[in-house]
Assembly symmetry: D5
């Protein structure tokens, strides 16, 4: 199964670091593999954060997320792993990820996870 490398994520300098403002990025074309059944999973990610010194660059985010295309992982793992990687890359004041997956067996799951910088 495909490896996930966080080194793909590029950043640029936050142009307004003195102001707390919110950047929300919606990625409706997320897909990964179910490690149990080997079947593809589909979903959408909403990543919102207050940058400190670094913002992630959108094209590199897309390439980072495409690594999951042939990667097997459970919903809870995927969502928290992406949070860990984006926090490591940008060291934000706060960041939240909402991952909504399409129905399987008539059941639909959403995972919401959040990071806050320690003061």
């Amino acid at each position: 199964m495909g490896e996930i490398s966080r080194d793909i994520i590029e950043t640029f300098l936050n142009p307004y670091p003195k102001r707390d403002y919110l950047i929300e990025t919606f990625c409706p074309e997320f897909t990964s593999m179910c490690p149990k059944t080997g079947q593809p999973d589909f979903g959408s990610l909403t990543i919102s954060y207050v940058a400190d010194q670094k913002c992630f660059e959108l094209k590199s985010l897309k390439l980072y997320l495409q690594q999951f295309r042939n990667h097997g992982a459970f919903y809870e793992n995927v969502t928290n792993l992406i949070l860990d990687d984006l926090v490591a890359a940008t060291d934000p004041r706060q960041m939240k990820i909402v991952a909504e997956f399409t129905p399987r067996g008539g059941i639909r799951t959403t995972v919401t996870t959040e990071h806050r910088a320690e003061d």
Copy 2:
């Protein structure tokens, strides 16, 4: 009428137990029997929780909920019973269930119940 066994619910270890994050599961295909009229009731359940050490496994959740298919119970009972069973199985930090039932006699009912672990 069918018995409900909570032993059906399987769990797996929470992969990120150090972080408080929210798992929301939406089950739109719930059906039970009205104990008064013997007629089927239909509804949807939204189960959201912050796991502690254990997460419930989705396929076993589906099988657990299918037990209600031929089980007679009132809305208030069904919703609180499911909460009790899922809390017993996963011992979460908090859990909330919203059960929306389809209209009967021109009246539609929603029951919302919640559990919080004692600190």
Copy 3:
């Protein structure tokens, strides 16, 4: 004009009185008479409450509300009267009624009223 009797409302014992949980009942088929014009009014009621010892039974609620079919009363009166009657019948921990009436003369009115048990 028709009299309103609160004695019609039947109750059953709250099956989970130790837990504060919310029961929401949506009644989209409410109709009464305008006391000024004698014309029918139409609307929907959303009754949500945290039961203490008693829950109202849905069929009796329907019959109670049908008494307004030929009863004349203004919006503000109707909504608060229903709150008074349901509180008297069930003595809840809290109860809220939102009554949305259809447009008259291009104007639409919603009345929201609430009861909280004294601690």
Copy 4:
């Protein structure tokens, strides 16, 4: 149960009788009684017609329809009876009624009936 009189329906002269044009009237506040259960039914009527010499007056239409408030009849009867009465009152080139009733026992019914003047 209440009698239905078609004499209530007032008409006015079609101001543009030379042109075939469509008048559509939507009445979302229709209510009658179920003859079997004695319970109220609710629905909406869409009446569309091409007038010949006469148009029905809207206030009188409202009063005509209010007669059904305490009148017992099945869906199929109600819809065709209203068509018969409005055709008798206005003698239109064509007229169609779509009656959508709210759900009963989890089932929703729509009746569509039509009249065309013989050439």
Copy 5:
């Protein structure tokens, strides 16, 4: 698996047999069993017909459809079987059934089937 009896369907005399008019019945609470997996399927049925001498009675329709609750059959079979049974019971001028099933494996299926009386 449960047997399906069409004898449950009761009819009443079409009150307006001289006029071709359309009766549409929407049943959003249909459920059957998948014969392959033994899992429940869910869907909604829209039955529309032009009655000849007989209309089906709604309560008996509901009981007829409830027979499928523990009956195993594929989508294509279920839809055509219900058409056959309702045609046998009411001998309509025409009848159409649209059955929409909820997603399985990320795929959603709708079956549409129709009967026309031979002239």
Copy 6:
């Protein structure tokens, strides 16, 4: 009550007269007066036409329609009068007006009228 002058409508030359193409103009801010009650009526107009040699200019259309602001007329009259005036001004190959009025007394009316050039 205000007079309606069709002379206000300005036109420009159809830039593509050899091709039959459709221009649809939606005017959601129409208001006139009810001649019976003296109360304002509100609605929206959808004017669609295939121009021959002339198109109406939008600003002049707006000023033309504003004349109805203090003008009293019934729905059927208003709609057909506007059709007559726009046909007189532009002599189109075909033109259709759909006028949707907001609810009065719980009843909503739409008038649809059409003109076709004689071949």
Copy 7:
């Protein structure tokens, strides 16, 4: 330009003055004139308040608002003036007005203003 008189607003005694409850009135058919261009503006008002001793009567509210039909004023003025007038007429515990105006030059404006009685 038309004068606005607040004396038109009639009131009736609040039937439940001991209870704080919310009355929300939605008026989608508001129109005034732009003082700069002389063109009509259109919008909707949502007036919500907790009455003290007096409620405003709906028909008189409609007549009060119709005064703006030929009155020129900017959005910010109109909204605050209506608040002042309704507060003067009913002396409520609190009142809020949300005025949403339709787009002009591709830009849409909403003004929200609020009054709270001094304790």
Copy 8:
């Protein structure tokens, strides 16, 4: 890039071959690769057909479509190729595919293609 094999598609016997009826299958989780940019494309397929002797089996359809996950092809090719393969596998009386792709560069594309058996 991945090869596409139509041999994966399994069929079963049409249970009602004497009746022309429509089977519509909606697959919202389709993904392929752009042959030009190497980037993933996403879309949904609606496949509707009137079967003759054979229906395609849904699980095998899913596996067939998953072959496109790492396959590069333009929209027009993909849609017509799937039509060719499904027609070859089931030899239907008629079949239509509507493929809606998500936006690229601010532009969204839908391809619709159809097969009819020669009489």
Copy 9:
């Protein structure tokens, strides 16, 4: 004002020229200039066509449409000009353009124009 060159439009060979199938392209980000006021106009284009030998390439379509960004033209002209240019570039069996422009002065316009190859 900017010139419009149709030479920018690139094409590729229709991969399935023997089959009549429909390609629909939705461009929600169209903007041009009003020649009268010098103000920007905004709108969306839906271009649908049955290709003969040539399909237009999407990136070149985008660049072609961007030429209108600083080009002044009326709605009717813009829409028909784009049709002429795309027909000249691809010589399709048929092509239709629906151009929906955002409201100006409270009025919204849609232009629909169509080309059919002569047989």
Copy 10:
């Protein structure tokens, strides 16, 4: 690339400076250029503020925003720059801008930034 001048923004005196009230302006027709690709970006701005002594005039706001039409800047820069300019022009008690951009590469971004006057 085009320069942005904040001097274009005209203001008028806040007519109700003693009351804190909210003015919300929605501008769905915003467009700028991507500095990296030279391609146009599209989006909508929601500007909401509590004015102190000055309100911005809508026509001048439109002209100010049109300067971005041929100006290259990243989302985060654009949004914060507009906030800076509007704060400089009107010195409000508080102001918030929500900028929603249309999808690029399957990813959609929203930037939210806020200013509060120091007390």
